[in-house]
Symmetry: C2
Subunit: 608 residues, 2 copies
């Protein structure tokens, strides 16, 4: 039943060789990988204005040079990530680049920081989208958390269905959003040029404002650069592209950068010329849309597309997290299970865990994840800085043709990213300090996992370790609970293997039982030796374990192997299991982990 | 670590033969088994006044005859249960009596109804006690649910420590409450007799009141008889008494009845002469205490003792539920696990499940369990009626010496209880209807469990069924994941048993792997046959299960038994398990339940 529900939700399993058909073309890749970056246009410009507004509306003209700074940073990031794509065509982005050029630990900082960040991406963007919906329908407000969780589950299922299917579904909203914003910006600029719009701004461009400081400008800049989160997603996801994947990924990256630049600068320019002031309850994009079109269909179209893309921004996390996890798992820093492809060839463990963790975040923060945004932005700029520094090291050490030009691009990118990181720490420490706690924790975890896998590998290797001692005989111990068919079955099996010794063990809770049982046994199975153990504390495992220990020691002397044969009956229906105490299960688990004995389970299937 | 925590909370394990020392003397038994009955004095009289108040304060004089009715019912119940104790000295109360005299199904109605009722007892009384505390300290009000849950956990732990220990702890609050109420009633009556108290009641005793109806009087009567819940507890718990248990239980029952009668009538009389009107926010007992002592130490002493006993009333459920469960489990109507004695010789499974279920109730009803009270009272009176009818049948059919006298007592009790039951259905149907849903559900469950155990017993019996077919040879299948020490270990074991055939099975996800692995294998273990299976859908269980099916069919022809030998490595630390996929665990569980093969696990313990 569960299997058929899974089939309905996720679809039929795919064969491994169908993998190539699951790869993305450029149009779908752009849709699936850029929703995070593009959606940040909905709040990036506003962040700049909010900071400038602390000085006064007259300072708004600074938003233009700040936006130019953000565009330069975007240009540097795009150029740098394009170089990364061609230098590391198998994907991995910041983690791989940092690891290879700056050392393992630096790589782990980048990887760990991105891993956490993708969880934040999902939680923050789904919460933001849900907020947009509940603002429109206030009666839904009390259901914010369940609605957000349902969205996460839907996106998780979509991703479990596979990359191409989710890309097909997601392409429409992303392109719809781009179309909506193009229309808005186009009509807006037309209005400004023709003087069609009423603007109440003092066009005091270039006039120095009292109270403005470099600190404030840098703060505004770093807030604005939160619009660039999501830019790295493509470089992590190169293996998802159709061949030639680096070329396709490079082109997609440029397309995304161009769209992002146009939308971002368009919104900044419109906001400036419209003289828009950030207000708590109406977003800047909403104000622009209202001034441009009035409250008509177009206005709602733009608002709807924005809400939709905010939710779908989560999907970028779903594309990038599993692939980053695969890279970390290949290097043995996280459990191997992240490398297993699910029925639909996606890395389903990564997808499911990402979904679960973001649901946990949404529940813990009761759907109010806004104040996680700075943490999330910082979590992107740490790997930005590290990956670009890595590229700087790479160019300096390998010096390929034209390396000076490449070096300059990456150096500029690294420097600006570093400044943004520092600004986050300086201006928003109260919101970003958790990174100083969880990054070390994650890295310790990475290192310990790695160490474990290394030790295991060493111990598994056949050649490396001494030969196993040959087994010269077998002793079989059968715990018996009564004189039943189930026990008979196990005895017959043990006898058929002709071990050197068979011992049946009966555990009595009361002294009187012992003699009675021994008598019955000797009549039933006179040829099988029975040992009765008295358990004053009514435990089965304790006396059994003690007895096995004694036998084991004796067996060890003559290189005999001890096997515990457990008779177990299997009821016809699953719910019947709760009607029987699961001692055979407990005994098996205990013995396997605590004793050096082999455990054989002899099932007896009930027919009724 | 868990074990030592358990040791601290629950205490050292006790030997089975220490059971006798765990039995209760009369003083402790009274404390532990009467808290539920005595605590109901805190709300029983109030329930009568609330119903009468719907007509007017002039109707309050009816509370005296109604109270006399309740006392008669109490007398009938006590007399009847005393007869039950001597007739059924091994305990069981309503369930046993109904089953033996009225048939199994009637017994199950009584048993199921009590089983649910004890859960309600715990939830309702802990919630009521918590309410009393949070009324005194309103700042705690928002923590009602966690406080109630903590109380349930504390009482559960106390009961897991064993019967005598909890009795020692509980004796103080119960006797404190009795003392407090005796003082209150004594001083109160002294005040009335000496005319010391200001009473504003019209002493219109015996005057007929307009608007009063038989229906209303019966409603008031059934409400008041909710004070009698808990009377049956002693008859369920006879096995917990020191020898001679029936005598001790009988005396304890009479002591409890006497105390209950004195306290109940005392409160009713004081309420009447003080002219007390039920008010929503101050209980009747609180009003009496205030008028008697003023708001001084004595007032708070009485309020505190009342709150305490309300919480401890839950303990009656803890004494009776596990013993009733044992009786039902002995008759195979509920899972056998309820018959297992824990470390401290209490029936710990019953205690834990009672605790868990009442926590669930508290959470579901957010600590507001007041409207469960009618349901809970009905759940007591159904078994009251059935057990007394059972006694009627018993006397009529066995006709012992003096049976007419006994018959009259039980007939009166049965008739009054039946009237109370009917009144609950007539006057509070909206609150008691769930009983019509859950009773049938529980009884269906009982019957199905019984049926399952019966079939199992039949199939286990050695004599009854045909002999097992002799095993003439063995085939061992070893799923291998690589060329490692773990696999080598399992192969050596299989070889040491000299089965007729050993087959290693390798499951390849990609076609290319197969040849490579076969080549390596033939160099490593040329004498062991290797079968490679291709799994296009990356499943391990599916191809393995198919393969086993084929081998099994062949083996069956020549009476060979198939064993699957699973190599499993055991990491040194528990948390390492999550770093390895648990396929050996899944394969074992699947094969045991779906195939007729024996599963042998060969552990390989890592040293690092």
């Amino acid at each position: 039943m569960l299997a058929s529900l899974k089939r309905i939700l996720v679809g039929r399993p795919l064969k491994t060789k169908e993998l190539e058909e699951q790869k993305l073309n450029k149009r779908k890749a752009l849709a699936i990988l850029s929703s995070d970056a593009l959606s940040s246009v909905a709040y990036g410009p506003e962040q700049i204005l909010i900071v400038l507004f602390t000085v006064g509306a007259a300072a708004f003209w600074y938003s233009i040079p700040i936006a130019i700074g953000v565009l330069i940073l975007l240009l540097a990031l795009i150029a740098s990530y394009r170089q990364i794509i061609f230098a590391y065509p198998h994907g991995g982005g910041a983690y791989i680049v940092s690891k290879e050029n700056l050392g393992t630990y630096t790589g782990l900082i980048a990887g760990g920081s991105l891993l956490v960040d993708y969880i934040l991406t999902v939680a923050v963007s789904v919460s933001a989208g849900t907020d947009a919906i509940t603002s429109a329908f206030p009666s839904l407000h009390q259901f914010t958390v369940p609605i957000a969780i349902i969205f996460v589950i839907l996106i998780t299922i979509l991703n479990l269905r596979g990359v191409t299917e989710s890309a097909s579904v997601l392409a429409y909203p992303v392109y719809l959003f781009v179309l909506a914003l193009f229309l808005l910006i186009g009509v807006g600029i037309f209005n400004i040029v023709t003087g069609n719009v009423h603007t109440n701004v003092q066009l005091s461009f270039g006039e120095p404002i009292a109270g403005i400081s470099l600190f404030l400008l840098l703060k505004a800049f770093s807030s604005g650069s939160s619009a660039l989160t999501g830019v790295e997603a493509i470089s992590n996801a190169i293996p998802n592209f159709k061949e030639p994947s680096p070329n396709n990924a490079g082109k997609t990256l440029i397309a995304m950068g161009t769209l992002l630049a146009i939308l971002f600068s368009g919104i900044v320019v419109l906001a400036y010329f419209y003289g828009i002031t950030p207000r708590g309850y109406v977003t800047v994009v909403s104000q622009i849309a209202e001034q441009t079109f009035g409250r008509n269909f177009m206005y709602y179209f733009i608002q709807g597309a924005t809400a939709l893309i905010l939710i779908l921004a989560a999907n970028t996390g779903y594309s990038a997290f599993p692939l980053l996890a695969v890279n970390l798992a290949k290097d043995k820093f996280i459990p191997r299970m992240f490398m297993i492809r699910g029925d639909r060839l996606g890395y389903s463990n990564g997808i499911i865990i990402l979904g679960l963790l973001s649901i946990v975040l949404i529940i813990v923060f009761k759907g109010q994840t806004e104040h996680l945004i700075p943490l999330y932005a910082l979590g992107v700029f740490i790997p930005f800085t590290l990956s670009q520094s890595g590229m700087v090291v790479k160019w300096v050490s390998s010096k390929p043709k034209g390396w000076i030009y490449k070096l300059i691009i990456n150096s500029v990118g690294a420097a600006i990213s570093l400044v943004v990181c520092m600004m986050f720490f300086l201006t928003k420490f109260s919101q970003v300090w958790p990174v100083l706690v969880f990054l070390p924790v994650i890295i310790v975890f990475f290192v310990r996992v790695k160490k474990h896998y290394d030790t295991v590998g060493e111990q598994l290797r056949v050649a490396a370790s001494e030969a196993n001692i040959a087994i010269e005989g077998n002793v079989m111990i059968i715990p018996v609970a009564g004189i039943t068919h189930v026990v008979e079955n196990s005895l017959n099996y043990a006898k058929s293997l002709h071990p050197e010794q068979i011992i049946a063990v009966y555990i009595a809770f009361e002294k009187e039982e012992e003699a009675v049982f021994e008598h019955k046994w000797n009549q039933w199975q006179p040829d099988v030796r029975l040992v009765t153990l008295h358990s004053p504390y009514r435990s089965i495992i304790q006396p059994l374990s003690k007895f096995i220990h004694i036998i084991e020691r004796k067996a060890h002397e003559s290189n005999y192997q001890v096997t515990v044969v457990i008779p177990q009956f299997i009821p016809k229906k699953g719910w019947h299991n709760m009607l029987h105490n699961q001692s055979s299960f407990l005994i098996r688990a205990y013995l396997l982990h605590h004793k050096n004995v082999i455990v054989t389970t002899v099932p007896y299937h009930f027919k009724k």
